[in-house]
Symmetry: C2
Subunit: 200 residues, 2 copies
């Protein structure tokens, strides 16, 4: 059996190996090399690279849910800004670019791989739902315009964020610029006139 600790260790090794080798070239040996397990021990836990990557996407999903589940902020506008920053801006670690590239490779595989697609849908569904809930709350309490449609705003914001991630990988568009433009979209188009955007 795979204990939680072993799983975490293997997921860290998979993350490092993806950053080092990318998705297309990745081998079980590469992942073993990043862990303290032999390749045969690795195969005891996961039959093949595909099964391991599916488990890795599940593991990433759990972390994503934790990261986005309680965005900081005193009102819906602040919580939406905080959620956007959490998802768009890179973490502190230095190898985020190579990791985002590997994730985009996996997205491009989704049409050929139902297990990948199902996981990617879960990421988007939980993100869409979190945005939708915050927008609905903001419409109810008057922070956001009464005519804002929470479902449509949620899908719009998620599409924009996915675009920011793709453009960062493909043409090096800076995350900070994309996040700032989305914050201004929220301030200018969702807030009721009464609400003043904080100075930045």
């Amino acid at each position: 059996m795979t204990t939680d600790e072993t799983l975490r260790h293997l997921m860290d090794a998979t993350h490092s190996a993806l950053c080092e080798h990318g998705y297309a070239e990745l081998t079980m040996q590469d992942i073993a090399d990043e862990s303290d397990l032999s390749k045969s021990s690795l195969h005891y836990h996961f039959d093949c690279k595909h099964d391991l990557l599916v488990a890795f996407l599940d593991y990433l999903f759990d972390g994503f849910v934790d990261r986005i589940s309680e965005p900081a902020g005193d009102d819906p506008a602040a919580r939406l800004r905080s959620l956007v920053d959490t998802v768009v801006l890179p973490p502190e670690e230095g190898d985020d670019d190579t990791f985002q590239t590997a994730l985009l490779e996996i997205k491009a595989q989704a049409p050929y791989d139902d297990a990948f697609r199902a996981r990617l849908e879960r990421f988007e569904d939980v993100f869409v739902e979190q945005v939708r809930a915050i927008v609905a709350e903001g419409v109810d309490d008057g922070t956001f315009r009464a005519d804002a449609d929470p479902d449509e705003v949620a899908s719009f914001v998620v599409t924009y964020v996915v675009g920011a991630q793709t453009r960062h990988v493909s043409v090096g568009e800076p995350y900070e610029q994309s996040a700032a433009a989305l914050r201004r979209y929220v301030d200018q188009n969702l807030l009721t006139d009464a609400e003043e955007a904080p100075a930045r």
Copy 2:
């Protein structure tokens, strides 16, 4: 030398082969099979798959510039909606999904491939500039809000469109839905209050 007619024929063959095999698995033989040339004749025109794909991106770029250069519409708002539809909505041909998947694979290769990245940047630059010019024109003639920043709106719209393309490939998000949401963004957030959005 490669005549215009031969080039067009080879580019069509490359398009078909990408739709059939995807980017990662594509071989020169696959492209030759889609053309009326032998693999060795193909090598007379292009040294390797990479050179051929770079030429293919240049060829796509020329077509893209033609498609977006004169968006239909009597005023900047109509032209912006028309431009968005041209870029987001798929062409009539049936194999657009597989082609978009191959393009996303190429985007995910860009960090490893300067020639790909340079081509992808050209696509985005010309698209950003076209949106920017229409928005600037609309601000000048009063169609769009005076406080709309053409540079920022252009980058925002292009990021959204790239996200719509990525989500279509990775989770099957319908293009029509993404395009409709972007049209509403234009209607609700860019138009001056005087301007009425057309009924849809």
